[in-house]
Amino acid sequence: MTGSAVTVGALAAVTAQLVLVVGGAPLLAGLMRQVRARLEGRVGAGVGQPWRDLRKQLGKEAIRPDGSSWVFTAAPRVLLASTLLIAAVAPFLSTVSPLDGVADLFAVVALLLLGTVALAVAGLDTGTAFGGMGASREITVAALAEPTILLAGFALSARVGSSNLAALVEGMLTAPGQVLSPASLLAAVAFAVVVVAETGRLPVDNPATHLELTMIHEAMVLEYAGRDLALVELASALRLTVLLGLGANLFLPWGVATTASPLPLLGAAMLFAVKVVAFGAALAAFEVFMAKWRLFRVPELLAGSFLFGLLAVSASFFLA
């Protein structure tokens, strides 16, 4: 293959990955709701319901509260754009990517935080009590969760000697025994807790509630309507998919293509979908058995995952 053919293939891989993630994210959200509904003995609205909701909301006018500024309008777009960027650069299908230089662990964490902060600022911008309360809670959780993502990543990158995500995945692929090493197991536990906290799932936040005392994420986006709400909903489904995908590929990297040729890419896409769906279904099933924790116990959970992250880092330095 010539150099330009590789580039074309890699570009096709990135496009396929974006289409897969954006098209699949609402389906994943729908699937998780459906799993939950079935386990609770309800019929459920079907896997396609989030897409139907999005289509309906996109056709409606975006109403903005009086006195809100451009921050309120910009926040959903910043959130969606930053999440789409992560979805494009992360090594979900192939480790060969024209955007390889951007696919850095620190860049991805910074992008995640950018979206969180944009939404929190928008929550403050509306000037309502709920918006401010939700923003303050969200930032508290984020401030405790982000160091843990970094630590879990450190544990993986200490072995490879690089914080590039594609290099991390390739390092795991070349040494399959590492999947069961204490460092990556501890890091996986830490990462799982962070995914739960970052995407606002139980026991940190209940995605299905609008009860004023308990909501975190929903409190911030309470004032959004129509198109803006559709963007926020799509972005939060994307965040969930991206984080689950990162977890799946960093800790169980089997099936990720190391070239940009079509056949391995197809296999990688199917395996990626299977892994993310399995993780999502497991998370939803786990949620059925959990009750939401008091807000004041959330730091306990995150301190625990921080400790796991730290142990993972020290294990990757000392044990291996």
Binding site: P182, L185, G304, F318, L319
Partner: protein
């Protein structure tokens, strides 16, 4: 042909190192979870897990050294730490009716952070020890020391009598793991002596807990501050 055993280790090197690291990682994980959980029943279950892991560690070293004595030690550890001691603890739990550690002296988030510091301390103090004879087993020594420190921390900061017994057992698990890792297995007679001591201590503490509950109605050790007639 040569019929002697032990020319070639029965377990291949990579499998041995992987399993050893995995067992040590799980030991540390169980110790941290003991620090995290409040339900005493869950803590006792975690102690069972640790007992099984310690027995697996002894069996692994036995397979490595080709020594049948270590298999006997493994069986002894399994019987004592995964069956007998948890059974005694469960009995105390059932008699006292206390479900959870309500007020540890240090709250859970802070004790988890303290756990992180203790683990780093364990790594720091065991570096000269590891440097004496670097091998996969001695490199896992910090984990055993960390379990010991975590046990000591639980012993110091918890109030309920049962939690303190748990801390004591955690510390002993750490000591056992240290012995296994540092010496590639301990002689059966030493392990037997330690195990009997341990069993005796736990039985004495069980009696003490029962007496305390009869006297005060609960097992908060702070009640024992004053001398009475």
């Amino acid at each position: 042909m040569d019929h002697s055993i032990g020319l070639r280790p029965p377990v291949s090197e990579t499998v041995y190192v992987q399993t050893l690291n995995l067992i040590c990682g799980a030991l540390l994980l169980a110790a941290v979870l003991i620090l995290w959980r409040r339900e005493l029943a869950a803590i006792v279950r975690l102690l069972v897990v640790q007992g099984v892991l310690l027995a697996a560690l002894a069996a692994l070293l036995g397979a490595r050294e080709g020594s049948s004595e270590l298999y006997a030690v493994a069986a002894g550890v399994l019987a004592l730490k995964a069956v007998v001691l948890p059974a005694v603890l469960r009995r105390v739990l059932r008699d006292t009716g206390e479900v959870r550690e309500t007020e540890p002296l240090v709250n859970v988030a802070a004790s988890l952070l303290a756990g992180a510091l203790l683990t780093l301390l364990a790594y720091a103090v065991s570096r000269p020890l590891v440097a004496l004879a670097p091998s996969p087993a001695t490199q896992a020594l910090p984990v055993a020391l960390a379990v010991m420190f975590l046990g000591f921390f639980v012993l110091v900061t918890r109030r309920r009598a049962l939690s303190q017994v748990v801390g004591f057992l955690l510390m002993d698990n750490g000591i056992t793991a240290t012995a296994f890792l540092a010496t590639s297995g301990v002689p059966l007679i030493v392990e037997l002596g330690v195990s009997l001591d341990l069993l005796l201590v736990v039985l004495v503490l069980q009696v003490l807990t029962a007496r305390m509950r009869l006297t005060f109605g609960r097992t908060d050790l702070d009640e024992l501050r004053e001398l009475r007639d």
